[in-house]
Structure formats: structure tokens, C-alpha cells
């Protein structure tokens, strides 16, 4: 790997001068067990204190390092709190318009099918303004990985009601609590997408403890591997928090999340075609449509005739 020149980047975000291992003096018996992942640039992020985005950015970078794919990965940043993640990740990055990340990722992946493409999106971006792009990239079975941070609120703009805000949840634009009679119900993305044939892997995780963080990383790695093996579209939904806009301490926010969000958005694997015994989405889809002769391979092979 070449030395990363961060002088230009320093105009946008503060740069951390050196790798932490070089500036920490170790006392007797101490050792460094974790260092900054290579795929995470040594810059200061714009995230609020206690925001799980920092954990998730790091986990993505750790997975890129462990799979040794930083050099062949292109990430897509959304509009929202993680908009500036194009300055944080060390791989090539593209900043997309609000909600359009799956379409942008599709364009990149079609040009470079041998590369790894991920999009990192929040709930407003993915489940509201970008719902059409989300559903269609999934149903097309695009070989991309979506990292979906669901914290039930629009963080960047100051705490408005999101498509995933819970019933009766108070936000800036649901000051009396989300009234399901007028504002409708929250969207459960993993459940929704798991009905689509293009989805190879869908899992919902959270990052509120060392154990759950390790689990989230395992899921994330699996999602990337699913893409690399060409199995199909993969999505990891992370049930998250927003201490700033929820008006809570980080600890209290995780408590609220466990108490209210996890019952509404249960953790777990929602679709895993490989575990279901299929090689990829195409096998799983053909099986699902068993009674439909035209839907059986190789009839749907585009451009073959």
C-alpha cells in the first residue's frame, strides 16, 4: 500500500497526525490489541459523541481489511449523517444524491462486475426517498452490499420523523408522537426485502455491546462474501440510536433502543439463500416459481437469443 497523502483531505476534515500505535506509550504489561483499520482513514469524523455510526464505519473498514478488498472496493455515501463518509473510508468513494445510492452502486457494479461495491445508507435515505431504488436494486439481485443504519429519525437535519420512527415516537415533525392514523406505520425493511427473489442475504443486527458488535461484524463479513461469491444482493440492517436527536445519553439511548426498537425490529437473519440450500438467488427464485414454466432457467437468459 502506498502512503496516504492526507494534506488535501485536511481542508475538509481534521486529520489525525499519526497512527495511534505510534503515539501511545505502553506501560509495563500493556499491549495494543486493536489499531485503526487501514480502510478507515486517520481523520476526525463529523459524528456526534456516542453515535453508533463510528462503530459501523469501523466495522466496515475492518471487514474490508480482513477480506483484503480495500483496493478493489468502491463505496457509495448517502445523504444524511454519514454523507461525508467518502472522506473517512480509504477505498474509492462516490457521493450519491439522497436515496439514489442503490442506483449509483448499480451503475458502478455493472461497469466493474469484478469489483466490490457497497452503499452505506440511513433510514430516511433508504426507506423513504430512496425506497424505489432500494426495492428495485434488491429485486434485480444486484451484486452489491447495502449497510442500512436504522435509528428511527432524520439525524442530519435535526430529528424529524423517519419512515422507521416508531408509533407514538416524538420527533421534531411528530411533536405529539407519530400518529399512525395520519402518519402511517413504520417500514420493516428486512421483512419487506426478504420477499424479493433478488435478495441473497438479509440480516438485522445492532451494536449496543461488545457481543452484538462482534455479531454485527460477522454479519457484515457474510454480506460482503455473499457479493464476492456472486450469490446476490445483500443487506445488513443495523438498529441504531441517535443520542443527540433522541435527547438521551448514549447509554440511555441504547436502553430505549432495546426496550422499544428491538421488539418492533427483531434481530436475526431474514433471508439466506445459501443456508436454504441454494447456490445463488437464481436457484432459489426458480424453486420458488416451480409451477411457472417460463420462469425456469435458462429461458430468462437475457440476450441469449
Amino acid at each position: 500500500m502506498i502512503e496516504k497523502d492526507l494534506t488535501a483531505r485536511a481542508e475538509n476534515v481534521p486529520v489525525i497526525p499519526a497512527r495511534s500505535e505510534e503515539i501511545i506509550e505502553l506501560a509495563e504489561g500493556e499491549k495494543i490489541v486493536k489499531t485503526r483499520p487501514h480502510a478507515l482513514l486517520p481523520v476526525v469524523t463529523n459524528y456526534c459523541p456516542g453515535c453508533p455510526h463510528g462503530i459501523m464505519n469501523r466495522l466496515v473498514a475492518e471487514v474490508l481489511d480482513e477480506l483484503d478488498i480495500e483496493g478493489k472496493t468502491i463505496g457509495v455515501a448517502p445523504v444524511g449523517c454519514s454523507v461525508m463518509s467518502y472522506d473517512f473510508f480509504g477505498c474509492d468513494m462516490v457521493e450519491a444524491a439522497h436515496g439514489r445510492s442503490p442506483a449509483v452502486a448499480t451503475g458502478i457494479k455493472r461497469v466493474h462486475p469484478d469489483k466490490v461495491v457497497f452503499a452505506y445508507q440511513g433510514d430516511g435515505d433508504l426507506a423513504s426517498i430512496g425506497m424505489a431504488e432500494t426495492v428495485h436494486a434488491a429485486t434485480r439481485g444486484e451484486k452489491i452490499t447495502i449497510i442500512f443504519i436504522n435509528n428511527a429519525i432524520y439525524g442530519m437535519t435535526g430529528g424529524q420523523m423517519a419512515p422507521t420512527s416508531l408509533p407514538n415516537q416524538v420527533t421534531q415533525t411528530s411533536p405529539y408522537g407519530r400518529d399512525v392514523h395520519t402518519a402511517g406505520f413504520p417500514v420493516r425493511i428486512c421483512e419487506l426485502l426478504s420477499t424479493l427473489d433478488g435478495v441473497a442475504y438479509a440480516e438485522r443486527v445492532c451494536v449496543d455491546s461488545p457481543k452484538s458488535i462482534r455479531n454485527a461484524k460477522r454479519a457484515l463479513k457474510k454480506a460482503f462474501e455473499c457479493q464476492i461469491e456472486g450469490i446476490g444482493y445483500s443487506i445488513i440492517e443495523v438498529v441504531s440510536t441517535c443520542p443527540t436527536n433522541w435527547g438521551m445519553t448514549p447509554q440511555k439511548a441504547f436502553e430505549w433502543m432495546r426496550e422499544n426498537m428491538l421488539p418492533y425490529y427483531p434481530l436475526g437473519v431474514y433471508r439466506d439463500v445459501k443456508a436454504d440450500g441454494f447456490q445463488d438467488i437464481y436457484g432459489a427464485a426458480a424453486k420458488r416459481a416451480e409451477g411457472c414454466p417460463i420462469a425456469q432457467p435458462p429461458a430468462a437468459n437475457e440476450g441469449s437469443k
Binding site: 467518502y86 477505498c91 457521493e95 442506483a103 455493472r110 461497469v111 469489483k115 428495485h136
Partner: protein, 370 residues
């Protein structure tokens, strides 16, 4: 090389020429009257190792183009007026991120759902404000099927050279009509110049590339916009394209582009037969507007007539270029109606009568210009 003349629809010529210009990535959404273009691409691209993708929406299609362009490919989308409006957001982001691509608008009548008949009512949208923010994009306006094929080549080259979206502004008439066309020689996409800025994976060999239009520091965004406008100045100075017809001694200069230029051309021929010194300036680029070509008519022109298939849009640019030197008039039909040569001739005759022009010398029939 033996010329291989084939009869093609304008829409198909645009598609085939894009393929030959090295475009292997097409993202679109069905809309009349550009249908044949996407259908042609869906037939040809899979066989050329390319991607034809029918997007879920016009919005998704232009964002797929954004991704493919960022990834370094020659990418294209096509649509018609209402669909182009939906692409506006994406085009703004593409311009803001300095990415090259080609957008084709086979115009139909508007506003709203409008009609499916030919129109030129997206002139303002194409040359002024397709999306939000400070930006322009080069706009080509072909008037024959041959020129449609040729301008696709030019469009991709201009897009790559200046890292800008480029639009080809056609219309339902040009898209649907058939004419003989000689296709340009195909380019192998592998031989196109490298794009060192592309986001295609750094391979551990360089710092990461970023395609982005966000600048939270105001002075940075200003710097970026000023730099882009310097590029626009170069485009204005070097990329203006236009054709003149019988303009050398023209007293009444018609200005028309695309389909309406074909009608204006006929009207000029008839006017000359009637002894009126009429001529035609046909802009081939609408932005940059061919002010230099228009300036060559200033010495003889006593009046200008902008002929358009809208309520009067390009006439603004003609007025800006003429800048009060002579009166600038407008004639157009709208709603999908194509003006007739007789209607345009009547306007020329009216202006001639008002100005006391006419009584031309008789050599003009042969004074055809390049």
C-alpha cells in the same frame, strides 16, 4: 472505405452511433417518442458485452449513469421531455461531480404530460436550468438522421474532454423519421483515453478517488464553481457549431435548429425565388450558442426571425446575440404542431413588406454556402 449507406430511424441512428462511439452502458426508462432508441440498445448491447438496464424510473436511470460515469465508462441515457425533468436532479449532481455522460432528449410537447408529438419546448430547460445550481452543459441539436449519428460521437468526445454531461436535443419528428445514413467507424472502448480520476478501485496504488459534489466550506465550493466556469469559457470559445445557408447577403436572417430548421430552410429557398434576400443560421450547438456565426450576419441583416416549435425560447438567445442591432422576431407553433414552410414564408414576406425589402438580384439562387 466503401460507404455503407443504410436507411434508419433517427432514434436507431442515435443508438447505433452511441455503440460505435464506445458506449457500452445504457440506462433508460420507457417513454414515447424515444422508444426505438432503448429497444435498439436492449437488442444490441448484450451482444457487444455491454449493459442495457431498464431502470425502475428516470431518476434511477440517470443515477445509474452517474455511477457508471464515475466508474470510468462511456454511459448514456435517453428519454423524452417529462422524463428529462425527472433526470434534472441527477444531471445537476453529475455536473457538480465533473463527470462525463450523454443524455438524449427526444422532445415532445409540454408542459406536464403534454403530448407525444414533436416539440422544441425544452430549449430553456436544456440550455439554462435542467437542474439546480450554477452549471451549464453542452447541447447538440441535430437536424438530420446523419447529423444525429455524427453528433453522438461529438457529444461523447466533448463530455470526456471537459468532464461534463452533454445533451443531444432531438425531437419526436427527428426520432421517428427515416433517412439514409452512413455510420461512423466504430471505436473500441478499450482504446479510449484513461480516466485517472475514475472511482474503479485504487488497487493499493494510489490515494482513493472520490466523486462528489458536496463542499461544506463555502470558499471551496466557490473555487470549484469558478474553475468550472473557466472550462465553460473554453467551451464557448471552441465548441460553438452552426451552419449557414444563403447568409452572405441576407437581409432577413432566420434562426432555427433541429426539425424547425428543415422547414425554415424550405421557406428561405422559396423566399429567394420570390426575390427576398433571406438566409438561415442553424445552430448545431444550442449551448454554447453560436454567437460567432450569428455575428457574421450583422453587416447585412435588417431583421431576424427565430423559428421554433414552442412559444419562443431560443429567440431570447438570438436577441442577446443580436443585442439591438436589428429587430428580432419570433414565429412558432406549439403543442406538437410542426410549422409549415408556407407559414414561415408568410412571416418572411410580412417582414420584407414592413421593411420595404425585396427586389433581389438574381444570382442568389446559386450562392449556396457551406
Amino acid at each position: 472505405m466503401a460507404t455503407n449507406k443504410v436507411l434508419m430511424k433517427g432514434n436507431e441512428a442515435l443508438a447505433e452511433a452511441a455503440l460505435r462511439a464506445g458506449c457500452r452502458f445504457f440506462f433508460g426508462y420507457p417513454i414515447t417518442p424515444q422508444t426505438e432508441l432503448a429497444a435498439y440498445m436492449s437488442k444490441r448491447l448484450p451482444k457487444e458485452g455491454g449493459t442495457y438496464l431498464q431502470a425502475e424510473s428516470e431518476v434511477a436511470a440517470i443515477n445509474m449513469v452517474y455511477g457508471a460515469a464515475a466508474a470510468g465508462a462511456r454511459a448514456m441515457t435517453s428519454s423524452s421531455s417529462p422524463g428529462i425533468s425527472l433526470k434534472g436532479e441527477g444531471v445537476s449532481y453529475i455536473a457538480g461531480a465533473d463527470l462525463p455522460c450523454v443524455i438524449i432528449n427526444v422532445q415532445r410537447g409540454g408542459p406536464g404530460l403534454g403530448s407525444i408529438q414533436p416539440s422544441q419546448s425544452d430549449y430553456w430547460q436544456a440550455t439554462r436550468a435542467l437542474g439546480h445550481g450554477d452549471f451549464f452543459m453542452p447541447v447538440f441539436a441535430p437536424s438530420t438522421v446523419q447529423e444525429m449519428a455524427n453528433c453522438v460521437y461529438d457529444a461523447f468526445n466533448v463530455a470526456d474532454k471537459y468532464r461534463t454531461p452533454v445533451m443531444i436535443l432531438a425531437d419526436g419528428m427527428l426520432g421517428q423519421m427515416m433517412e439514409p445514413v452512413v455510420m461512423p467507424e466504430p471505436i473500441d472502448p478499450a482504446t479510449l483515453p484513461e480516466k485517472p480520476w475514475a472511482t474503479c478501485g485504487h488497487g493499493g496504488e494510489r490515494f482513493h478517488n472520490v466523486a462528489n459534489s458536496l463542499y461544506l466550506v463555502a470558499s471551496k465550493l466557490e473555487e470549484k464553481n469558478v474553475e468550472r466556469f473557466k472550462r465553460y469559457e473554453i467551451i464557448k470559445a471552441t465548441e460553438q457549431r452552426a451552419e449557414t445557408f444563403l447568409c452572405e447577403d441576407a437581409e432577413i436572417v432566420l434562426v432555427a435548429f433541429g426539425a424547425s430548421a428543415r422547414i425554415a430552410h424550405s421557406a428561405v429557398v422559396t423566399a429567394r425565388e420570390k426575390g427576398i434576400r433571406a438566409g438561415l443560421v442553424r445552430p448545431i450547438t444550442l449551448w454554447p450558442f453560436p454567437v460567432d456565426t450569428l455575428a457574421t450576419t450583422f453587416d447585412t441583416a435588417r431583421a431576424y426571425l427565430s423559428v421554433e416549435m414552442n412559444m419562443g425560447q431560443m429567440v431570447d438567445d438570438v436577441r442577446l446575440a443580436v443585442n439591438g442591432r436589428a429587430p428580432v422576431e419570433f414565429f412558432g407553433r406549439t403543442g406538437g404542431i410542426i410549422p409549415t414552410p408556407a407559414e414561415v414564408l408568410a412571416q418572411i414576406e410580412r417582414i420584407a413588406a414592413e421593411k420595404g425589402l425585396g427586389g433581389c438580384c438574381c444570382t442568389c439562387k446559386n450562392s449556396d454556402e457551406a
